[in-house]
Assembly symmetry: C2
Homo-oligomer: 216 residues x 2
């Protein structure tokens, strides 16, 4: 293994361990020592990549958007719907994603860490997709992509939070279905609505097709 | 002042102080001593009302719904819209409300404290209003009040959280306008939409009319 590749793997192991520890303990109670033990790396390796706990937290915060990767769809609105369901599904078993969401949401994250960053990153990724949807004639003429995207990111944040507080996210798929049923008619041209799939198990099905693509 | 009235005032002073301290420091870093100093009450007075930090946090969590008090409106959907704008406005300057929202939202709130309780209390209060709106013919026949209300509570939670993370809640009124513009068409009968007021400054205007009512 080349030196550079080893460094990338070590960095990833540290970020994943940090995500898991932040998820379990929150920012304040997390120590570098806890991350070292979880990642099974030396102090020197960790400080080579991250100068401080703040830097570690920032790295974890910056890892959210890749979890929204989904297969391309002919309908770009369906792709946006798919991203929400896939992230919801991954929140159930991915500790790095959960830790990243906790850092973004918890008020305890200190001001030295930019916890607005994932909100901006999601908004940017979704705005590009929504503008593409607009170019393809999928959107009502009243839609302002930046406003709608901000609402989608905020709504997703709150819906997953309420689902976590009440059912440890067990009902998140159902809640996302309800969310899209209320919001899609204000975004999509009416002819598109019957063909859009926002059923509660959409995330599981999209992930299965994603794994098939990787395997083949 | 009667003994009972004094006890009620003392309890209120403690809850307000606790809300402010939880807002600033979060659950873990808050100590009973900090609350005592803020409330200017004796240890004995505090423990007479609250057996533990958990009990204090629970009391703060249970105080959210009264902040949604708004004047009655002929249109019950307008009343629901008004509640969201008034709570948003009060989040800017009420430390007890802010502390209560922080405890509900932050994952650090321990499992011994039921931080799902405010979500359930909001859902109950709003479901009653939305059912009344339905009886008066304000709702589309497709609306299931319990589902719609859960979405509204989740959406409000996320929209205020994103507004806090990005602008310290300075743009919360604008974000609520966008929220209602996207959701009302899926809830209200079309004839009602032009008459509903969900402009960004709605909270300020409703609070002013509320103060006039109290003064007169």
């Amino acid at each position: 293994m080349a030196k550079q590749e080893r460094a990338i793997r070590t960095r990833r192991a540290i970020v994943e361990a940090a995500g898991a520890v932040f998820d379990e303990h929150g920012y304040t109670s997390t120590t570098i020592a806890m991350v070292l033990e979880r990642a099974q790396v030396t102090k020197g390796a960790l400080y080579f990549h991250f100068a401080s706990k703040e830097a570690l937290a920032q790295a974890v915060l910056n890892e959210q958007v890749p979890f929204g990767a989904v297969p391309p769809q002919p309908c770009k609105l369906q792709e946006i719907v798919d991203m929400t369901f896939v992230v919801a599904r991954r929140l159930l078993d991915n500790a790095l994603l959960r830790g990243s969401v906790r850092l973004a949401v918890d008020q305890e994250t200190p001001s030295g860490v930019d916890h607005g960053e994932p909100f901006r990153q999601w908004a940017q990724a979704l705005t590009e997709l929504l503008e593409l949807a607009g170019e393809r004639g999928e959107l009502l003429p009243t839609v302002k992509p930046a406003e709608t995207v901000d609402l989608l990111v905020g709504t997703f944040t709150g819906v997953q939070l309420m689902s976590r507080a009440l059912t440890d996210r067990a009902d998140l798929g159902d809640r996302l279905s309800v969310m899209w049923a209320h919001i899609l008619p204000s975004i999509a041209v009416p002819g598109l609505l019957p063909g859009l799939d926002a059923r509660a198990d959409r995330g599981t099905r999209v992930l299965a097709s994603l794994e098939q693509r990787v395997a083949s």
